[in-house]
C-alpha cells in the first residue's frame, strides 16, 4: 500500500514536472536571439562640418531622445557641445520657440563674445544650425537671438537680419 502511494506521489510529481517543462519550453521565443548593441530609441540628427580639401563635408551624428524630452531642444543642445561643433566655446541654448514655422533660437552671449572669427566659421555655425533644424517638419525658417534680442550678424560676414530658410 505504501509502495503504491509512493508511486502515485512520484507519478504526480512527474506529471507536474512534465507540465513545468512544457510551460518553460513554450514560453521561450522562437525567434533568433535578440542582438545587442543597438540603439532602439528615437533619434535626432545634428550636423557638424569639416574641410576635405576645399569642400565642406557634413557629418550627421544621431542623438538619442529620452522619454519625455523635446527632440528639438535635445538636437540644439547637443549641437552646441558635440565634438567638432563650429559653435563658440561656452555657447548655451537659452530657449527655442517655434511660432508659425519660425524657430526663434535664443543663445547665450558667448555666441558673439567667444566667436573666434572667420567667414568659414560663421558660415559653418549658421549652416549647422540650418541643417539641424531642417529635420523638424514644423520649422521653415530660423531667427537667431542672443539673450532674447534678434541679431543682424554673428561675426560681420553673414546677413542675419531676416529669418533664414532652413531648407
Amino acid at each position: 500500500m505504501k509502495t503504491v502511494l509512493r508511486l502515485l506521489v512520484v507519478l504526480l510529481l512527474a506529471i507536474l514536472a512534465f507540465g513545468g517543462g512544457y510551460w518553460y519550453a513554450s514560453r521561450r521565443p522562437q525567434l533568433a536571439p535578440r542582438p545587442t548593441g543597438v540603439t532602439t530609441k528615437p533619434s535626432v540628427v545634428v550636423y557638424v562640418p569639416r574641410f576635405v580639401d576645399t569642400r565642406t563635408e557634413w557629418e550627421a551624428k544621431p542623438v538619442p531622445v529620452g522619454e519625455g524630452e523635446d527632440p528639438l531642444r535635445v538636437a540644439l543642445e547637443h549641437l552646441l557641445i558635440t565634438r567638432d561643433t563650429p559653435f563658440p566655446q561656452g555657447t548655451r541654448l537659452l530657449g527655442v520657440n517655434v511660432t508659425e514655422g519660425v524657430a526663434e533660437v535664443n543663445f547665450s552671449r558667448e555666441l558673439i563674445d567667444n566667436f573666434p572669427g572667420g567667414s568659414t566659421t560663421e558660415a559653418w555655425i549658421v549652416e549647422s544650425l540650418r541643417k539641424t533644424l531642417a529635420q523638424f517638419s514644423d520649422v521653415e525658417r530660423a531667427r537667431i537671438l542672443v539673450e532674447g534680442k534678434p541679431i543682424d550678424t554673428i561675426g560681420e560676414h553673414i546677413d542675419l537680419s531676416q529669418p533664414v530658410a532652413v531648407r
Partner: protein, 490 residues
C-alpha cells in the same frame, strides 16, 4: 528515492522536448518581414523592412566593412535597387540572405569612418549615419521615409549651335526636355563649367558646333552616355560674364558669354571702393602665437592701404570704407559704395576655422550666381593664387558656404568680391600675412586682377592671336583628352 528523482528528471526533459516540438508544429511560422529599401540621403543609409525587425551592427577589418544584420528578415522576390548617391566614404554597398532569417547588409569602406545606428520606433527602419561624407547641398536626412520618386530618364542634347556677334557669343543647346543646369567656376584661370546633369548626348548631335570668337579660347563638351555627368568647359580669353537663359516655352538653354559690367575703358577711369574687413571693437579673427596675437582687422587694413596706394598710382579713384582702426557698421560698407555709384567693391578679409591649422589657402568670393561678380572673382583669384604660394581655393560663390551669402556682397550694386587672403589661424598662412612683402605682393595681385578685368589679359590675348581655336567633333575625342572636372572634384 534516486529512482524517483530519475523519473522526475525524465518527465521534465520530456516536457521540454515535447513542448518545443509541439510549439513549433502547433503554430505555423508567420512570413518573415522582407528588406524593402536601401536609400542614401547624404551620409545616412536608411534600411527599410516590411515589418518589425532588429538591426545589429558591427565592423569587420581587412577589408574594412560595416555590417548590419537584420533579423528576422528575408530578401523580397523582386531585386532591390538602392536609391540615392553612395557617399564617397563607401566603396560598395552589398546585401544578401546571410542565413535563414537573417539579411546581411555590408558597406565596404574606403577608410576608417565613424558610424552610428539608430532604429525608428516602429522597428521597421534603421538609420546608419556615417561620419563625414560629401554634402551635395541636398536635403538633409529626415527621420521619416519620404515617398520614393521614380527617376526621370536623362534628357537628350539634340543640338548645339552658336549665334554670335562682335559683342556676344551665344551657344544654344536644344534638349529633348527641360532640365536645370548650373555654372561653376573652375579653380584655375578663366575656366567655367556648365554642368549638365541628367543630360546625355544624342546620336544626332552635330560634330561642327565649335566657334571662333575673340572672347572664347576653347569650349569642350564632355558627353556622358549614361546621362549623369555631362558638362561643357568654357575657357575664355579674359574675365567674361557667363549667363544661362532658359527658353520659357521650349527645352532650349542659351549660354550667353560677353564682356562683364564695367569692363570697358581703362582702370584709371574707374572708381573702386576698398573695404578692409572689421575694425575698431570688431577684431575679426585672431591669430594666436606664443607671446603675441595678430588681429585680422590690422592685416586687412594694411593690405587695403597698399591696394589704395597702387590704385592711386594708376590714377584710379579710390574710396576706403575705413581709413584707420575705426568701427564701421556692416551694412554701411556696401551702402557707401552704392551711394558713390562706384564701379567695384573689393572687401579684404582673412579667414579662420574653428580648429587651428585645419585649413590654408586663398579664396575669392562672389555673390550667388552673379555673372559679373564671378568674372571679377576669377580675374582677381587668378592673379592672387599665382603669388600667395598658398593653396588655390578658387573663385567661389558665397552661397557655396552659406545659402544667402555675405552681407557686403549681397547688398552692393556693382561687381563685388570678398577676398579671404589666407587663414589667420594657420601657422604658415599667418607668417605670410604678417610679412609686409607678402602684403605688397597680395596688393599688387589684386590690382593686376582688377586691371585684367577692365582692360583684358594682355598675355592671354596674344596667346589667343597665336592660337587657332581647335574645332573637333566631340565624338573624335578620347576620354583622357577632356580635362573637365566635375564639381565634386573641384
Amino acid at each position: 528515492m534516486p529512482r524517483a528523482w530519475r523519473i522526475l528528471a525524465w518527465a521534465f526533459w520530456l516536457g521540454v522536448v515535447g513542448g518545443r516540438i509541439l510549439a513549433q508544429t502547433a503554430e505555423p511560422a508567420p512570413p518573415l518581414p522582407t528588406l524593402q529599401a536601401l536609400r542614401w540621403e547624404e551620409s545616412v543609409l536608411y534600411i527599410v523592412a516590411s515589418g518589425k525587425v532588429t538591426f545589429h551592427t558591427f565592423t569587420l577589418r581587412e577589408p574594412l566593412r560595416v555590417v548590419v544584420d537584420i533579423s528576422p528578415c528575408s530578401l523580397p522576390s523582386e531585386p532591390i535597387q538602392p536609391e540615392g548617391d553612395t557617399p564617397t566614404a563607401v566603396e560598395r554597398l552589398r546585401w544578401a540572405q546571410f542565413k535563414e532569417g537573417v539579411v546581411r547588409v555590408v558597406l565596404d569602406l574606403r577608410s576608417d569612418t565613424q558610424y552610428a545606428l539608430s532604429t525608428d520606433p516602429s522597428g521597421e527602419q534603421a538609420m546608419l549615419a556615417l561620419g563625414s561624407a560629401p554634402d551635395p547641398q541636398g536635403e538633409p536626412p529626415r527621420l521619416v521615409a519620404p515617398p520614393a520618386k521614380p527617376a526621370a530618364p536623362p534628357a537628350e542634347l539634340i543640338q548645339m549651335e552658336w549665334e554670335s556677334n562682335e559683342e556676344e557669343a551665344r551657344l544654344r543647346l536644344r534638349l529633348s526636355r527641360k532640365v536645370a543646369v548650373r555654372l561653376q567656376p573652375h579653380r584655375e584661370g578663366y575656366q567655367t563649367i556648365l554642368e549638365l546633369p541628367q543630360v546625355k548626348p544624342s546620336a544626332a548631335l552635330p560634330a561642327d558646333w565649335n566657334v571662333k570668337h575673340p572672347l572664347i579660347e576653347e569650349v569642350q563638351f564632355s558627353g556622358d552616355e549614361k546621362g549623369v555627368r555631362s558638362a561643357l568647359l568654357i575657357r575664355t580669353t579674359r574675365a567674361a560674364s557667363l549667363r544661362v537663359e532658359y527658353d520659357k516655352q521650349q527645352p532650349v538653354i542659351t549660354l550667353a558669354i560677353n564682356r562683364p559690367r564695367n569692363a570697358h575703358g581703362k582702370l584709371s577711369e574707374k572708381h573702386i571702393v576698398i573695404d578692409p574687413g572689421h575694425g575698431g571693437k570688431s577684431l575679426g579673427a585672431v591669430g594666436r602665437e606664443k607671446d603675441s596675437v595678430v588681429y585680422e582687422k590690422d592685416i586687412n587694413l594694411a593690405i587695403a592701404r597698399r591696394v589704395r596706394q597702387l590704385l592711386l598710382k594708376e590714377k584710379a579713384t579710390v574710396t576706403m570704407t575705413r581709413e584707420d582702426d575705426s568701427h564701421v557698421e556692416l551694412y554701411a560698407r556696401p551702402q557707401l559704395a552704392n551711394d558713390l555709384g562706384a564701379d567695384f567693391f573689393i572687401s579684404i578679409h582673412c579667414d579662420s576655422t574653428p580648429k587651428p591649422n585645419s585649413a590654408s589657402g586663398t579664396t575669392t568670393y562672389f555673390h550667388a550666381s552673379d555673372p559679373d561678380g564671378r568674372a571679377l572673382a576669377q580675374a582677381i583669384q587668378k592673379h592672387l593664387a599665382a603669388v600667395t604660394g598658398l593653396p588655390n581655393r578658387g573663385a567661389r560663390s558665397d552661397t557655396a558656404i552659406y545659402q544667402s551669402g555675405f552681407a557686403v556682397l549681397r547688398r552692393s550694386n556693382m561687381p563685388a568680391v570678398l577676398i579671404e587672403v589666407a587663414y589667420i589661424n594657420h601657422d604658415v598662412d599667418r607668417a605670410k600675412l604678417k610679412d609686409p612683402k607678402f602684403q605688397q605682393k597680395v596688393a599688387e595681385a589684386i590690382v593686376a586682377g582688377l586691371r585684367a578685368y577692365v582692360e583684358g589679359e594682355r598675355e592671354a590675348q596674344t596667346a589667343q592671336q597665336r592660337r587657332e581655336v581647335e574645332v573637333r567633333p566631340a565624338s573624335d575625342r578620347r576620354e583622357e583628352d577632356i580635362p573637365v572636372q566635375m564639381p565634386e572634384q573641384l
